[in-house]
């Protein structure tokens, strides 16, 4: 079976394309990571010498550390809000019948389709109009809007796959609808919650386009990185990028091991 399948020209072509795509997608990440180890203050590839000094230099640039902390808090809080809203909305959309359900469903997913430039600009106009100038709130709201569709999508698909008879069985055995949710439905949603947390966190932590419009003072990490490379292009930025790449890869692998990302998305 193996020999027959691998010699099939279509299989060979598909495998080749997959590898080319993988290479094209990861090569820039690879280059960036390597340049972080440059010995001199030029970001060149291949490096003209090896050192770890740029990693230590991150700590010497307080605006980068502050931005990283800011982004972390923003990502955690916006993810938490999106996931709470996602659970409630997903339960309503999959378990309850009400008029206009499909319309609301489509509407809730729509931020995925709006270009982020427009989203960022719209929020900017909106905040100026209502006179809200709060560095954190001005970013939190758009980040919730951006991450919510991911949370909803992941959680909703886990609820759709779940056998609704289980909840009924729990009620038949004497559980109230609240108990049935917390003892039967919720435990089975847990793997999807991990995936949702991961997606929301990455979408928020990573966002540049919308955030760039709304940075008042105290930038998010991607925006701060952008400011920094405008003024200087030493490998500190490569070093922080390398840290982000490695930690993201780590989380993807952990998430896949724990729940199997392919089962959820």
């Amino acid at each position: 079976m193996k020999t027959g399948a691998t010699r099939d020209p279509l299989t060979i072509a598909a495998t080749a394309i997959a590898f080319v795509t993988l290479f094209a997608a990861t090569f820039p990440l690879f280059v960036t990571t390597i340049t972080a180890f440059n010995a001199t203050n030029e970001t060149v590839f291949p490096p003209n010498g090896w050192s770890l000094r740029w990693f230590w230099n991150i700590a010497a640039q307080p605006e980068l550390v502050e931005a990283a902390a800011f982004s972390l808090v923003l990502a955690v809080i916006s993810s938490a809000i999106s996931i709470s809203l996602g659970v409630v909305s997903a339960v309503a959309l999959t378990r309850k019948k009400f008029p206009g359900r499909d319309l609301i469903d489509a509407f809730l997913m729509s931020p995925l389709l709006v270009p982020q430039v427009i989203l960022g600009l719209s929020f900017l106009v909106f905040f100026v109009r209502i006179g809200l100038k709060q560095p954190f709130l001005n970013l939190l709201l758009p980040h919730v809007v951006l991450t919510f569709p991911y949370a909803l999508r992941v959680i909703r698909s886990s609820l759709i796959r779940m056998n609704p008879k289980l909840e009924e069985a729990a009620v038949g055995l004497g559980a109230s609808s609240v108990k049935s949710f917390f003892l039967v439905t919720f435990p089975q949603m847990r793997p999807s919650l991990f995936v949702a947390i991961f997606f929301c966190f990455v979408v928020s932590f990573d966002n540049f386009t919308a955030s760039a419009f709304l940075t008042v003072s105290g930038a998010t990490l991607p925006v701060q990185i952008y400011f920094n490379i405008e003024s200087s292009l030493d490998p500190t930025i490569s070093a922080i990028s390398a840290l982000l790449i490695v930690s993201s890869a780590f989380f993807v692998i952990v998430a896949d091991r724990v729940v199997g990302v392919e089962k959820i998305v």
Binding site: N163, A169, A170, G172, G174, A175, K179, L183, Q188
Partner: protein, 360 residues
């Protein structure tokens, strides 16, 4: 165990424009095992779900143990239910699954443990308490579902096609086990199935349903031998049907089968007119000489299939009508395919239907 009867009084269930249950009434006596039998879409599952409290009844009333449950929500009805796919909680062990209903009733942890273990023992699950449902076979999962339903000492047990997912051998074993368990526990049971053999073998009484109504409710043998309507005759068991005419002379009726040269003299009087005559395949015999009081009809054997306990025949009359004949293993006369022969039946075994209803 306390025994509660179920009285269903003219219930109607509506979903938007469809009316799956129409003014249905049914009395299940305490401790009785009643099956709801019917084709899919006949309303049998909806009826079961209204007893459980999962389908709202628009009209009528349901009483369990003499008390109306119309306004009692499903989680307060004290009912044990087993689903076709068992609906076991996949994230709970067998012991936690069985104990769930007791936990909802705020029974102490120690008592839950004892009663769950006792129920597991009764259903031969003692070795599986720490396993998870997906680690069990279909038959074991079904026993967990039964244990989970029974451990709360429900007033009634509702079974929604619980055997449908099992293979044939296991199904027949489980039928015996379920019957024994139900009798020893003595619990009032309503069983939904579309499998007539299952209904015949398990039930004290069977309610045949069609189009949201009960057509007939009777003991299995009465239902089989005296189907009240043509639909029941065809749905329960196999029915050979002839078109026929009744004519009367001297206070007795004569029945003539259309297109066959057969005329039967009854000892009672029916209304004259068009009727249908029904015969079960095993009530027809082969033979060269008609025993006294029986009706002969020449046929040609089309095919014969040996199925172990019997040989199933398809035979064709001279008018081209095809009949099914079952000859049990102990019968000596067993013609081969292609053979020209004669079939017989006794007048007493024959049922007559007028406009689909059984004639007395």
């Amino acid at each position: 165990m306390k025994q509660a009867g179920i009285e269903i009084e003219k219930i109607t269930v509506r979903y938007g424009n469809s009316v799956p249950v129409r003014a249905l009434s049914l009395d299940v006596k305490p401790g009785e095992f009643v099956s709801l039998l019917g084709p899919s879409g006949c309303g049998k599952t909806t009826t079961l779900r209204s007893i459980a409290g999962f389908s709202d009844i628009a009209e009528g009333d349901i009483r369990i143990g003499g008390v109306s449950v119309r306004d009692v929500p499903a989680n307060k009805r004290n009912i044990g239910m087993v689903y076709q796919d068992y609906a076991l909680f996949p994230h709970m062990s067998v012991e936690k699954n069985i104990g769930f209903g007791l936990r909802m009733r705020n029974v102490s942890a120690e008592e839950i443990r004892q009663r769950a273990r006792a129920a597991a023992e009764q259903l031969r699950l003692s070795g599986f308490l720490d396993r998870y449902p997906q680690q069990l076979s279909g038959g074991q999962q079904q026993r967990v579902a039964l244990a989970r339903a029974l451990v709360v000492r429900p007033d009634v047990l509702l079974l929604d096609e619980p055997m449908a997912a099992l293979d044939k051998q296991l199904r027949s074993d489980m039928q015996f086990e379920l019957k024994d368990l139900q009798k020893s526990v003595g619990i009032t049971t309503v069983f939904v199935t579309h499998d007539q053999e299952e209904a015949l073998s398990l039930s004290d009484r069977i309610a045949v349903m069609h189009d949201g109504k009960i057509l007939q409710i009777d003991k299995p043998d009465t239902l089989y031998h005296f189907p009240a309507t043509r639909f029941v005759a065809e749905f329960v068991g196999t029915a050979n049907l002839f078109k026929a005419k009744v004519s009367n002379a001297g206070g007795r009726s004569r029945v003539e089968l259309d297109g066959q040269n057969v005329s039967m003299q009854l000892d009672r009087e029916l209304k004259a007119g068009d009727v249908e005559v029904m015969l079960r395949p095993e009530q027809i015999e082969f033979g060269n000489e008609a025993p006294a009081g029986s009706v002969p009809l020449p046929v040609r054997v089309q095919s014969a299939v040996f199925v172990g306990v019997a040989t199933r025949y398809l035979v064709k009359t001279s008018s081209g009508q095809v009949l099914r004949v079952d000859v049990s293993g102990v019968q000596s006369v067993r013609p081969a395919a292609g053979e020209q022969t004669t079939i017989f039946w006794r007048l007493d075994d024959m049922r007559i239907y007028r406009d689909g209803m059984l004639e007395p």
